[in-house]
């Protein structure tokens, strides 16, 4: 941008006003319920629209693929952990999060900066959704279903790269940042491991941002590679 007319670069800043206003806005953002319709005055009672009337925006990132985003239409089918309203999760304490089932094929750890580290160590992913939610992520975990029918349109948003990355010290660990998840979005984790697979890794998962989470994920949308 160009410099505006006659406005000195070192103009004095009303620092206390800036801080107080910032605090007030932060408090209002925190008090804003999930799914608040656009334009609803902050501080006003909120009527949340049902999922059927809300356009679903989906972005996806295969761990070895470029970032893309898709729009998902109406849907049917199953094959997933039941989506549910994201609970108001208080900030988890750093450390390992106990898996929801015994002999789970994953480990979930909350780091001191609240980033969630997910490592797949086996094929048993039951309870992963509940475990990720206890870790602070608004997560929904699904397995692709052949009976699921979607209409998909690619849309570029670019937000997912801030939510998910691979641990530079261990490429087998996915790092998921709850703070980077856009307000109102859910983190959709799709287990794309072939049925009957004897081994699984974090590379078997596709991570997407959704709003709200769909009730199924189509098998036809899985990017199935060799091996």
């Amino acid at each position: 941008m160009n410099a505006p007319v006659h406005t000195p670069a070192d103009a004095v800043t009303p620092v206390n006003f800036e801080r107080r206003l910032g605090e007030e806005l932060t408090a209002r953002a925190a008090a804003r319920p999930v799914g608040t319709p656009v334009g609803t005055p902050v501080g006003m009672p909120v009527r949340v629209r049902s999922r059927r009337t809300r356009r679903i925006a989906v972005t996806s990132l295969g761990l070895a693929a470029a970032v893309t985003a898709v729009v998902v239409g109406t849907h049917a089918g199953g094959g997933h952990d039941a989506p549910e309203a994201v609970p108001g999760v208080s900030t988890p304490v750093a450390g390992p999060v106990t898996p929801a089932v015994r002999d789970a094929g994953y480990t979930v750890t909350v780091r001191p900066d609240h980033v969630v580290a997910l490592k797949i160590v086996g094929t048993q992913l039951s309870g992963l959704q509940a475990t990720l939610r206890r870790a602070g992520l608004p997560a929904v975990v699904m397995t692709p279903a052949a009976s699921c029918v979607h209409k998909v349109t690619p849309v570029d948003t670019g937000r997912l790269t801030a939510v998910m990355s691979l641990d530079p010290k261990d490429g087998r660990v996915a790092l998921l940042d709850p703070a980077a998840v856009p307000h109102g979005d859910s983190v959709l984790v799709v287990n794309e491991s072939p049925a009957g697979a004897r081994h699984a890794s974090v590379g078997s998962l596709a991570v997407l941002l959704t709003r709200p989470a769909p009730s199924c994920f189509p098998a036809s949308q899985v990017d199935v590679g060799e091996g």
Binding site: M1, N2, F17, T26, R32, P41, M44, P182, G184
Partner: protein, 192 residues
């Protein structure tokens, strides 16, 4: 105008919006003080702009432009509603009375900004003879220092339309007040 280009999107979550606010506070305060010489009104309008941005954060679409341009569009609408006297009806409890957040240092700082922006306000006033579409473009470019592309994004028009309106605005003002033409020829970015 900040030397860095704010990049944080207007996320509606507390942390995301806090960063967006931090990056754009100076720009919004500058926008407001170039249009009013009242300290209290400047504080109220600044608060109102950011509150509106928070309410509309989920409408931001990165495909349509940079966050700052989006915010300038909101700022224009908020101030226009105020000066038309047709501000949206709100329950008093939902608004932030910006002027109540001021202390003496803040008042002095905003007064200094208002003094420094005197020429900008005079320049904006010289655009009063223009039609609203032409004035909107010229104000953002000549008074607020936006590029033509950013101006187009803020107004929701094409860059070509913005350039055309800018040209017509300058031409119209040269015909009315030749001396103003000199300030309009100050270096402005020629964008694609």
């Amino acid at each position: 105008m900040p030397t860095e280009h704010p990049t944080a999107p207007p996320a509606a979550d507390p942390a995301g919006f806090a960063e967006f606010y931090r990056q754009n506070f100076a720009a919004v305060l500058g926008f407001v003080t170039r249009r009013t010489d009242s300290v209290h009104l400047a504080a109220d309008l600044t608060a109102d702009v950011f509150l509106t941005a928070l309410e509309q954060a989920e409408s931001y679409d990165a495909r349509r432009g940079v966050p700052a341009a989006w915010l300038y569009g909101i700022a224009r609408n908020v101030l226009a509603a105020h000066f038309r006297g047709s501000a949206r009806e709100r329950q008093a409890v939902s608004r932030i009375a910006g002027h109540r957040l001021l202390d003496e240092q803040d008042v002095a700082a905003i007064e200094a900004r208002i003094d420094a922006a005197r020429d900008a306000r005079q320049l904006a006033a010289s655009h009063a003879a223009l039609s609203e579409p032409l004035r909107a473009v010229l104000d953002l470019v000549a008074v607020d220092g936006l590029s033509v592309r950013e101006t187009a994004q803020a107004l929701g028009i094409s860059a070509a339309t913005a350039r055309m309106r800018l040209h017509r605005a300058r031409k119209a003002l040269r015909g009315v007040t030749p001396s103003v033409g000199t300030s309009l020829n100050s270096p402005l970015e020629a964008t694609s």
